[in-house]
Amino acid sequence: MSAGTPRSLASSGQKSIQDICHPLSAEESALSRIPDVLNPGSDLILPNGTPVDTSSPASSSSLLNRLQLDDDLDGETRDEQKYNITTEFDLPEYSVRRRYQDFDWLRNKLEESQPTHLIPPLPEKFVMKGVVDRFSEEFVETRRKALDKFLKRVADHPVLSFNEHFNAFLSAKDLNKRQGLALLTKMGESVKYVTGGYKVRARPVEFAAMGDYLDLFTQKLGTIDRIAQRIIKEQSEFLMELREYGPVYSSWSSFEEDLHDPLEGVSGCVSNCSSALEELTEDMSEDFLPVLREYVLYIESMKNVLKKRDQVQAEYETKLEAVVFREDKKTPVPSDVEKCQDRVECFNADLKADWDRWENNKRQDFRQLLTGMSNKNILYYEKCLAAWESLIPLLQDKQEAKGETN
């Protein structure tokens, strides 16, 4: 999957998308490897012309990271959950340890430096203490998967993948977060100074539509989340009853003779079904719900980008108006109005391209998510079916034997 229109974006530097080989999206495998032209350690040039002193593989033309994100449950550093990130490349391989807050830092930096782009979301930052065990295996694993997805999406992105913060994140031994990298892009710098308070007047239809869609979509996702939670709850309560139901047959079998085996069989079956159900609810909790929630966060950040776009446009409109107003005075065409216009157009272009990419991703993600949900349910029923089918011959067995002796 690549971006919708492979035209060169003004803000993505000198390289056009066509020159860059995209690793394919969410799948880890099926990455085509292209030989690395640059030697590690050679000088690399950043889009804006500044040399970088670290050899950062991420910014080379053959961007194919096999990002591996592993847990690092180190007993000694219990209060700091660290993640291992392994970036595989032709050579060298980078392996770093990062904490959640490092990811957070990265995302903030990306937002700052690439404000016209949609930055993928991180899993929720704050978890209520006491509600979720932050050191449980399940929680860490869920988080790890989300962080992995985050990195992959950034690596996927034709622009973000070149970001130096991203490079540093992947390779630097120590993230010096306070280091004021004077390497902001043109766009980043200018957008940073856009203040709020401008009201946009003529929002283009397409962006209005995007905003509306996102609002409705968020609503639907929220509803689906609630439904899924409710189902899990009902299933858990059903499970509780099943766990009491099975043993009743067992205790019955203890004072029966002929019926002993059939009753035990039923008890065993119910028990198998209970286990299958437990697995289903766990899977849904671990895999389904977090992904839904991630998307909600994703949409939040997208709405922010849309807002920023509105701001940029509003600023332009205001400035333009002021110029028109002053038309009688003989002033040179203000360059800052031109710059504003420029900004608006660049932002719009970036956003449109990112939107298309996002739509595609979204379609794939949800296809995968819902298919996954179906598969989990199918698996549950298949397990139960197998259990009950294997019971039938046992139940009928004695009867036939009896029938023969009659």
Partner: protein
């Protein structure tokens, strides 16, 4: 609501050659058992869609039950069914208006059906209370038999959606089936089937009640107190009966628990399925704001709706399993009643024997003049002087008579006891076999039901998955 179930007698006639006990043991249950040869899938689908008469036909075709050779006087000649239920209003004993349900009992000669003629069946209407009267009569008259139970008087072990109202059509229908089952069980019992009162229950609508009361059976009924007393005081009950009683207790306890938990689980299962219906709605709404994903989502939503709706049938099937279990819950009670009666008869024998022993002892004391045991007589004689020889003579004579009578009584009671033990044990053995067979069948049907439910689930989710993959 009048429930019309028309039995197609012709179809049943086909099965004349088959053991009529087939009907007996499986008619009321709405789902069928499976022979080893048939695939559960086709079978269960077939049975679920079949109408009631088809189901009877199919069941007879596939299940043979051999419960020994029995005297099937009644069922050889007649086919019995409880065909309909109707609401009536009338004045009750205290002259108040009440609404009650009556059930139509139909009897049709077996031969007539095979000859191709279709005579109007003999039929009459009976209320539940009349069934109760019949059963009470049978209990008192045949205390050594495990008398088949009636369906429950009030709906118990219900899960929330099921109504506990006696007037609810579903409850009435299940009761109708239960009553038919009761009649068939009685009609196929070697001893009960020959009872005259039972026969007139089926044939004489008016005046039957009076006939029953004229038998004076109520006087023969043992008082609860008497029975309880015997239970506590009996010294040597037959071990087998003591074990049976214990078994009855355990069976009752475990089936109660089973029904309770099952009802709760049914409640929960209902919730799980129904909430999935919400997916249907939200997918539909969502599809409205999507372009390419819309169709897939919409269709998937429909499958979710179907999934949610499927639970109603599933739970209805399960209700019949619950009814089968309930029958044996009540049967456990009948079993215990027989054991209690044994205790009573044994106790009365022991009492008579004890009485005889003490009288013999008295005679000895009187004859030899020794007072071995401490007695009031002894004390008073010491205080007030001994009796005269004439008095003693009179007393001895009386005692002799009493002892003679006592010996007769003991003989009688002993014979009664032995007779009771013999007949009761035969019927208990018969019951055991019936129970093992029926419950095994019930479990098989239950498993088949679960299999069908799983298959439906797989199908629905596969359909949904296909829709999702087209998103």
């Amino acid at each position: 609501m009048v429930i019309h179930i028309c039995l197609e007698w012709r179809k049943i006639a086909f099965c004349q050659c088959l053991n009529i006990l087939d009907i007996l043991f499986s008619v009321p249950k709405k789902f069928c058992t499976q022979t080893p040869r048939q695939s559960s899938d086709a079978w269960s689908l077939q049975t679920m869609k079949a109408s009631r008469e088809e189901k009877i036909y199919l069941r007879q075709k596939h299940r043979r039950t051999d419960v020994g050779t029995h005297n099937l006087h009644l069922l050889k000649k007649m086919e019995i069914s409880v065909a309909e239920a109707e609401k009536r209003t009338g004045k009750n004993a205290v002259n108040m208006q009440e609404t009650y349900t009556v059930y139509l009992i139909e009897m049709r000669p077996v031969d007539a059906a095979s000859e191709g003629t279709n005579p109007v069946p003999d039929s009459l209407w009976r209320r539940y209370s009349e069934f109760e009267l019949l059963r009470n009569y049978l209990l008192v008259t045949y205390p050594f038999l495990v008398v088949p139970p009636l369906p429950e008087k009030r709906a118990e072990f219900v899960w929330h959606k099921l109504s506990a109202d006696n007037m609810d059509p579903d409850f009435v229908e299940r009761r109708r089936v239960g009553l038919e089952n009761f009649l068939l069980r009685v009609a196929s019992h070697p001893d009960l089937s020959t009872d005259k009162i039972f026969y007139s229950f089926l044939t004489e609508e008016n005046g039957w009640k009076e006939t029953v009361f004229e038998t004076g059976f109520q006087a023969k009924a043992d008082s609860r107190l008497k029975a309880l007393n015997a239970t506590f005081r009996v010294k040597n009950p037959d071990k087998r009966f003591a074990e049976m009683k214990h078994y009855g207790d355990e069976l009752q306890s475990v089936i109660s628990q089973l029904l309770r938990v099952r009802a709760r689980a049914a409640d929960r299962l209902y919730g799980v399925y129904k909430v999935h219906g919400n997916y249907g709605r939200v997918f539909s709404e969502w599809s409205a704001i999507e372009k390419e994903m819309g169709d897939g989502l919409q269709s998937a939503g429909h499958h979710m709706d179907a999934y949610a709706a499927s639970v109603d049938d599933i739970l209805e099937e399960e209700e019949h399993y619950a009814d089968q279990m309930k029958e044996y819950l009540f049967y456990a009670d009948a079993l215990r009643a027989v054991c209690r009666k044994h205790e009573l008869t044994q106790y009365e024998l022991e009492m008579a024997a004890q009485d005889l022993t003490s009288k013999k002892q008295q005679r000895e004391e009187l004859a030899t003049g020794t007072i071995r045991t401490f007695s009031l007589k002894g004390v008073t004689s010491k205080l007030f002087g001994q009796e005269t020889p004439e008095q003693r003579e009179a007393k001895l004579k009386m005692l002799e008579t009493q002892i003679e009578e006592g010996e007769e009584l003991v003989k009688e009671r002993n014979a009664e006891c032995e007779e009771f033990v013999k007949s009761a044990w035969v019927d208990i053995e018969r019951f055991k076999e019936q129970k093992d067979h029926d419950l095994r069948e019930a479990l098989i049907s239950y498993a088949i039901m679960q299999i069908s439910m799983c298959k439906k689930g797989i199908q629905v989710w596969n359909n949904a998955k296909e829709c999702f993959s087209k998103m």
